[in-house]
């Protein structure tokens, strides 16, 4: 694993970018703009937005397993419940950058 690419560590708070690409991507709409916590680094994978068009998908991107509180994503009474999703590096921003 190329450690230099890793921007986030387990425990880091991150926000999912509010982007609206018109082409293939793997970040579900319902999580865009939400704040979560990186739980672990799943690995470094080829970029699926590129692979979808039969391009090499390089450079590879870190993929993080991010935990969201259900009540932060949807108005929900289940305050203890969680959603975990795998989000590629370029879709995440450090929470400090929020401004």
């Amino acid at each position: 694993m190329d450690e230099k690419l890793i921007r986030f560590e387990p425990g880091d708070k991150v926000r999912v970018r509010r982007l609206s690409p018109e082409t293939h991507c793997r970040t579900p709409c319902y999580l865009r703009g939400s704040v979560g916590t990186v739980r672990n680094i799943a690995g470094i994978f080829r970029n699926p937005s590129e692979l979808a068009f039969h391009r090499p998908g390089l450079p590879k991107l870190p993929l993080y397993r991010v935990e969201f509180r259900l009540c932060d994503v949807f108005c929900s009474q289940s305050v203890n419940d969680k959603i975990f999703a795998d989000i590629y590096d370029h879709w995440l921003q450090p929470i400090a950058e929020d401004g």
Partner: protein, 207 residues
């Protein structure tokens, strides 16, 4: 008297009507074989391989993990390698498998909100409801309501964790071994691990 031929009633012999997708698959397969990219034997072997992946295989893996503590540890550490070695089936490939361990206070359930990603290398083809928009859109928004429609009511002190398979990882739920199964054989244990237990929409029951 002319001989009257009597036919037994039988179901009409159906001509298979192919949809566009089937026709496309047949055409591409024929082309790949004609151009020597693949052989018919290789195609058949792959279909056999896919057919051998089914929830019964997953259930054997879970039962072994309940039975054998060391296998359980290896299964959580490096799932596909552990299964490959233990069951002598090729598992490793471009996709990774993550085993989600249920705990007394944590219940895991798996979805793919974007399409229908599923641990096919172990469980085979996903059920139709797993691919349906209703399950995919609702289980992230109101998991407890969806689980209760599956007949699974979880107490408030159990945390529900919904894992959305958005990328290169596939998820398998390792359910809790139910009370009342002490002394059961591995085969008996495997028999109560249904497909839904490994997706997280059910839990194994000893009765």
């Amino acid at each position: 008297m002319p001989h009257e031929q009597i036919h037994d009633d039988h179901a009409p012999i159906e001509d298979v009507r192919y949809g566009d997708d089937e026709l496309l698959e047949i055409a591409i397969r024929a082309l790949l074989i004609e151009k020597n990219v693949l052989t018919a034997e290789q195609v058949n072997r792959q279909i056999d391989n896919m057919d051998s992946r089914n929830p019964a295989l997953g259930a054997r893996v879970i039962a072994r993990a309940w039975y054998d503590k060391r296998f359980r540890e290896r299964l959580i550490d490096e799932p596909l390698v552990a299964i490959e070695l233990e069951f002598d089936m090729p598992m490793t490939g471009p996709l990774e498998l993550v085993v989600l361990e249920n705990k007394p206070q944590i219940h895991n359930v798996v979805v793919c909100t974007l399409c229908s990603c599923y641990p096919r290398m172990l469980l085979g083809i996903p059920p139709a409801w797993y691919k349906a928009t209703e399950y995919r859109s609702r289980v992230v928004r109101e998991p407890r309501a969806v689980l209760s429609e599956f007949g699974l009511e979880l107490p408030d002190n159990v945390e529900v964790r919904v894992s959305d398979s958005t990328a290169d990882l596939r998820y398998l739920v390792l359910p809790l071994r139910p009370a009342g199964t002490e002394g059961w054989s591995e085969d008996q244990l495997a028999a109560i691990v249904t497909r839904d237990c490994m997706i997280g929409t059910a839990i194994p029951r000893s009765e």
